[in-house]
C-alpha cells in the first residue's frame, strides 16, 4: 500500500505545501492507473477529478468535428491535468487519453471543493498554485499559437 | 621645424605628381569645399571661408590670400579609401562551372593635401575597422599603405566643430608625412612645416625650406590656439558608453525621431561610417555577373531586413542605433570613440539635429538612468 501523502509531497505541484493542508488533501486522493490508449475522460463529461501525473504521457484532444480529433497538448510526469473541477459547471473541455501506461494521483473534485470552502486559507493556497499552472499553460499555448517555426 | 612659402607649396605638389601620386586636395565645387584632383595651388580654395551651423553651410569669398581658412566640407577622405562603389570581382558561367575573375582593378597611389587633424583621426579609426583583428580588407590596405598625407592644422573652427572635446585636434600630432600650419598676416604668408615620417622628410628635403624662427613657430602655435579657443561646441564624453547603453527606452529617441528624416545624410558625410552593402548584378542572359560593394546606411529601411521581416523599422530605433554605435559600441568594438568631432553630421543634417546637444539632453533629462 503506497504512502499517498508521501507521493503527493514529492509531486512538484505540492512542493512546500503546508503539512496540514497536505494531510487534508490526501483524504481526497487515490492512486490510479490507466492502460495504453485508455480514455481517461471525455469532452463534456462531469469534471470530477484532477490528476497529478506520476509517469506516462496523456494526450489532450478536442473534437474537431469535420476535422477529426485535434490533439492540442501532451502532459507528462510532474505535470497536472485538469482544473475544470474548480470552475462551474465542472465539465471537461477536452478528452484525455493515455498514450502510454499512466500512473497518477487522482484528487476528487467535490471533496477538494468542500475542503476549500471550509478552509478558505487552504483554498487560496490551492488557487494560487492553479493560477500558476494556468499562467504557464496560457503562455505555452500562446507560443504554440505564434507558430514560431513556420515558414515565413 | 621649417617654413615653406607659396612657391614651395606649389613645388611640393609638383614633386608628388612627378613621383606618380594622384594628388587630391580641397577645391570649391557645387557651393562647398570638396576633395578632388588638383594640379597646382591655384586649384585650392584661396580666400574662401566657410560658415557652418546646424543644418547650415555657406562658403564666402574674401580678399584674403589664405589657402586653408575653411575647415571641412561634406566629403571626407573615405571617398578614396572606402569608395562609394567598388567592384569586388566578376564571374561567368562555363557549362556547369562558375569561373571567377578576381583580378584587381588598378588602385591609384594617392597624396592627400589638406588633411585636418579630425580627418587624420578618422583615417586611424577606419584603419581599425578594415583591419579588425580577424580579417584585413586588402583594397583599403593597398591604398592606405601607399598614401602620402600632407595635413593642415586648422587656424579657426567653424560653428559645428568639436574636435577639442573629442581630443582629435585641432593640431595633428602624428600619422602624417608632412604637416603644415598656415600663417598669414598683412606682411607675410608662409607655412610652418613639420615632418612626420621618413618619406615626409625625403620629400621635404627636395624643397627650399628655411629653419623656422622662434617668432614663426609662435605664430603657428597661436594660429592653432585660435582654433582651439574658439570651439563653439563640446561633446561631454564622461561615462557616455553607460549613458547610451542604459537608456534604450528613453523618451528622447521618440523626440528626435519626430524631427529626423532618416535621410542618411549624417552617415554619408561622417568620415568614419563604414557600413556597406553587397550587390550581385547579372547580365540579361544570366551568364556574366559582378559583385559590387557600395555604401549603405543604418538609417535605410532595408538595412535591417531579415528573413521574414524587418527588426528595426521605427525611426527612433534607427537613430538610436546610429548614435549608440558611434559613441558607445564603437568603443567596445575598436577601442576608441567612432566620432572625431568634425561636426559634419550637424552641418549636413537637413533638420539640424546636433549630437552634442542630444547627448546633453539625455544627461540632463529626469528620465535618464545613470549607472
Amino acid at each position: 500500500m503506497e504512502d499517498l501523502s508521501g507521493i503527493l509531497r514529492n509531486h512538484p505541484f505540492m512542493k512546500d505545501l503546508d503539512e496540514n493542508y497536505l494531510k487534508q488533501i490526501t483524504g481526497c486522493a487515490s492512486n490510479v492507473l490507466y492502460h495504453e490508449d485508455e480514455v481517461m475522460f471525455k469532452e463534456g463529461d462531469k469534471a470530477e477529478k484532477f490528476y497529478l501525473i506520476r509517469s506516462g504521457k496523456v494526450a489532450l484532444e478536442i473534437n474537431g468535428r469535420d476535422k477529426g480529433n485535434l490533439r492540442i497538448l501532451t502532459i507528462g510526469p510532474g505535470q497536472i491535468l485538469g482544473w475544470s473541477w474548480i470552475v462551474s459547471p465542472y465539465k471537461w473541455h477536452f478528452e484525455a487519453h493515455a498514450l502510454e501506461e499512466v500512473r497518477a494521483i487522482a484528487l476528487d473534485g467535490e471533496c477538494l471543493r468542500n475542503k476549500c470552502e471550509d478552509d478558505p486559507k487552504m483554498g487560496y493556497e490551492m488557487l494560487k498554485r492553479f493560477a500558476h499552472i494556468l499562467e504557464q499553460r496560457l503562455q505555452s499555448t500562446r507560443m504554440q499559437l505564434l507558430d514560431v517555426y513556420k515558414r515565413v | 621645424m621649417k617654413t615653406l612659402d607659396r612657391i614651395n607649396l606649389e613645388k611640393l605638389i609638383g614633386i608628388l605628381k612627378q613621383d606618380g601620386y594622384n594628388v587630391i586636395g580641397p577645391v570649391v565645387k557645387d557651393g562647398a569645399v570638396l576633395y578632388d584632383e588638383i594640379d597646382s595651388i591655384k586649384d585650392l580654395p584661396e580666400g574662401w571661408v566657410d560658415e557652418q551651423e546646424a543644418g547650415y553651410y555657406r562658403l564666402n569669398k574674401t580678399n584674403d590670400k589664405s589657402l586653408f581658412s575653411y575647415v571641412v566640407g561634406p566629403q571626407s577622405w573615405k571617398k578614396f579609401l572606402f569608395p562609394q562603389r567598388l567592384k569586388l570581382w566578376k564571374a561567368k558561367r562555363e557549362g556547369k562551372s562558375i569561373v571567377i575573375d578576381d583580378t584587381k582593378d588598378y588602385a591609384p597611389k594617392y597624396a592627400f593635401i589638406g588633411v585636418r587633424s579630425c580627418e587624420l583621426n578618422s583615417i586611424f579609426i577606419q584603419d581599425k575597422v578594415f583591419n579588425n583583428g580577424t580579417f584585413a580588407d586588402s583594397y583599403y590596405n593597398n591604398i592606405r599603405d601607399r598614401i602620402f598625407i600632407v595635413s593642415v592644422n586648422c587656424n579657426r573652427s567653424a560653428g559645428t566643430c568639436f574636435c577639442v572635446s573629442m581630443k582629435t585636434g585641432p593640431k595633428a600630432k602624428s600619422g602624417f608625412d608632412i604637416s603644415l600650419t598656415e600663417v598669414i598676416n598683412n606682411d607675410e604668408h608662409y607655412f610652418v612645416m613639420e615632418e612626420g615620417s621618413e618619406k615626409g622628410s625625403e620629400i621635404a628635403a627636395m624643397l627650399e625650406a628655411n629653419e623656422a624662427s622662434e617668432e614663426q613657430v609662435k605664430a603657428a602655435y597661436d594660429a592653432v590656439k585660435n582654433a582651439e579657443l574658439h570651439m563653439q561646441r563640446t561633446m561631454n564624453n564622461a561615462g557616455i558608453k553607460k549613458l547610451l547603453y542604459h537608456n534604450h527606452d528613453h523618451p528622447i529617441w521618440a523626440q528626435i525621431a519626430s524631427r529626423c528624416l532618416t535621410c542618411a545624410n549624417c552617415t554619408m558625410v561622417c568620415p568614419t561610417c563604414f557600413c556597406s552593402n553587397i550587390e550581385d548584378v547579372t547580365d540579361l542572359k544570366g551568364e556574366n555577373t559582378e559583385r559590387w560593394r557600395r555604401w549603405d546606411s543604418c538609417f535605410s529601411l532595408d538595412y535591417s531586413k531579415v528573413t521574414g521581416g524587418n527588426f528595426r523599422t521605427s525611426g527612433k530605433a534607427r537613430y538610436r542605433q546610429w548614435i549608440t554605435h558611434k559613441l558607445a559600441s564603437w568603443e567596445d568594438q575598436f577601442g576608441t570613440s567612432g566620432c572625431v568631432g568634425c561636426g559634419r553630421c550637424i552641418t549636413w543634417c537637413p533638420v539640424g539635429i546636433d549630437i552634442t546637444e542630444e547627448i546633453e539632453n539625455i544627461r540632463n533629462s529626469p528620465n535618464t538612468i545613470h549607472k
Binding site: 517555426y149 | 523599422t313 530605433a317
Partner: protein, 285 residues
C-alpha cells in the same frame, strides 16, 4: 580582395571558391539538404568547427549564410540543411547533382565543446535550429565517454517538419542520450509530445552546476529556453545561444550583422548568454 592577416588561409575570404553539389534532397516540404564537394578532383579537405557557417553563393543572385550541419571529422564533403525562404535559398533549392555554386567560409565562433569535457550537456533546439547543433552532437557522440549526461530537447512545428527523423531514432537506440521531441501541433496519429519544447524539461533532472547548455532556434523560443534553464539553476555563463542577423560580408566589414557591440558574423553566431543578456530583451536593437 581581403586577406586573413594570420596567413593561415590562402583563399581570399571575399572571393568564393567553387564547389559542386554531390547530393541534394528534401528533408521536409520547405527544408532541403545539400552535400557539397570541392570542384577540383584533388581531394581537398573541408575544415570547420561545429557551429560555424558558410556563405553559399547562387550564381548571379547572391549569398546566404547557412550553418554547416555535417560531421566535422568527415572532411571530404559538407552538408548544409537549408530552409527555402528567400531569393537565394530558392535558387539553391533548384540546383542538381553536378551543379556548381560558390562558397566562402567557414566563418564565426563555434559551440564550446573542448572545455565542456566532463560536463553534462543539455541541448535545446527548435525548428531548423537542430541543423547547426548536429555537428556538435556528432562530436559529442563520437567522444561520448568524455562527456557526462547528454540531453537533447527538440521542438518542431508538426511531425512532418521534424528534421533527420531516422538519425534521431538511431541516436536514441545506439547511444547514451536522453532525447525528447515535441511538436506544436499534430493529429492523433502522432504518439509523441505536443507542446512547447521547454515543457520537455520536466523529463530530466538538470544538475545545474555541472551542465553546459546549447540552445538554437527562433529567438523567442531561445528566450523561453534560457529562462527555463535559469529557473533550473543554471548560470548564464554556461548557456550558449546561436544568433542570426543579416549577413552580407561575413567578415565584420559591412556592419549589417551588428548586435549591440557584437558582430554576429565574427564574434558569433555562438555566444555565451552572459555576453548578450543585457541586450537580449531590447526591442529593435
Amino acid at each position: 580582395m581581403t586577406e586573413n592577416k594570420s596567413g593561415l588561409r590562402k583563399v581570399d575570404p571575399m572571393i568564393p571558391e567553387t564547389v559542386k553539389v554531390k547530393k541534394i534532397f528534401w528533408e521536409t516540404e520547405d527544408v532541403f539538404t545539400m552535400e557539397l564537394v570541392h570542384e577540383s578532383e584533388e581531394k581537398r579537405e573541408f575544415n570547420f568547427k561545429p557551429g560555424q557557417f558558410n556563405m553559399l553563393y547562387a550564381f548571379g543572385v547572391g549569398e546566404s549564410a547557412i550553418s554547416i550541419s555535417s560531421d566535422s571529422s568527415k572532411k571530404g564533403s559538407l552538408l548544409h540543411t537549408i530552409h527555402k525562404v528567400g531569393y537565394v535559398t530558392n535558387e539553391l533549392s533548384k540546383l542538381k547533382r553536378g551543379d556548381t555554386l560558390g562558397l566562402r567560409g567557414p566563418f564565426g565562433s563555434s559551440w564550446p565543446l573542448e572545455d565542456a569535457k566532463g560536463k553534462d550537456i543539455c541541448i535545446i533546439v527548435g525548428g531548423i535550429g537542430l541543423a547547426p547543433l548536429r555537428p556538435a552532437i556528432y562530436h559529442i557522440l563520437k567522444h561520448r565517454k568524455q562527456y557526462g549526461k547528454l540531453t537533447l530537447y527538440y521542438g518542431a512545428r508538426t511531425p512532418r517538419d521534424i528534421l533527420y527523423p531516422v538519425e534521431l531514432e538511431n541516436w536514441k537506440k545506439k547511444y547514451d542520450i536522453q532525447l525528447e521531441v515535441t511538436v506544436d501541433r499534430a493529429d492523433s496519429t502522432w504518439r509523441g509530445h505536443i507542446g512547447v519544447v521547454t515543457a520537455l524539461m520536466n523529463y530530466v533532472k538538470l544538475v545545474p552546476e555541472k551542465t553546459r547548455a546549447m540552445v538554437c532556434g527562433p529567438e523567442i523560443m531561445m528566450k523561453y529556453a534560457v529562462d527555463e534553464l535559469i529557473k533550473h539553476g543554471m548560470s548564464e555563463k554556461e548557456i550558449y545561444v546561436s544568433l542570426e542577423r543579416n549577413m552580407k560580408c561575413a567578415l565584420g566589414f559591412c556592419g549589417h550583422c551588428q548586435y549591440g557591440p557584437s558582430f554576429v558574423c565574427k564574434d558569433g553566431p555562438v555566444f555565451s548568454f552572459s555576453k548578450v543578456t543585457d541586450i537580449f530583451e531590447i526591442k529593435e536593437l
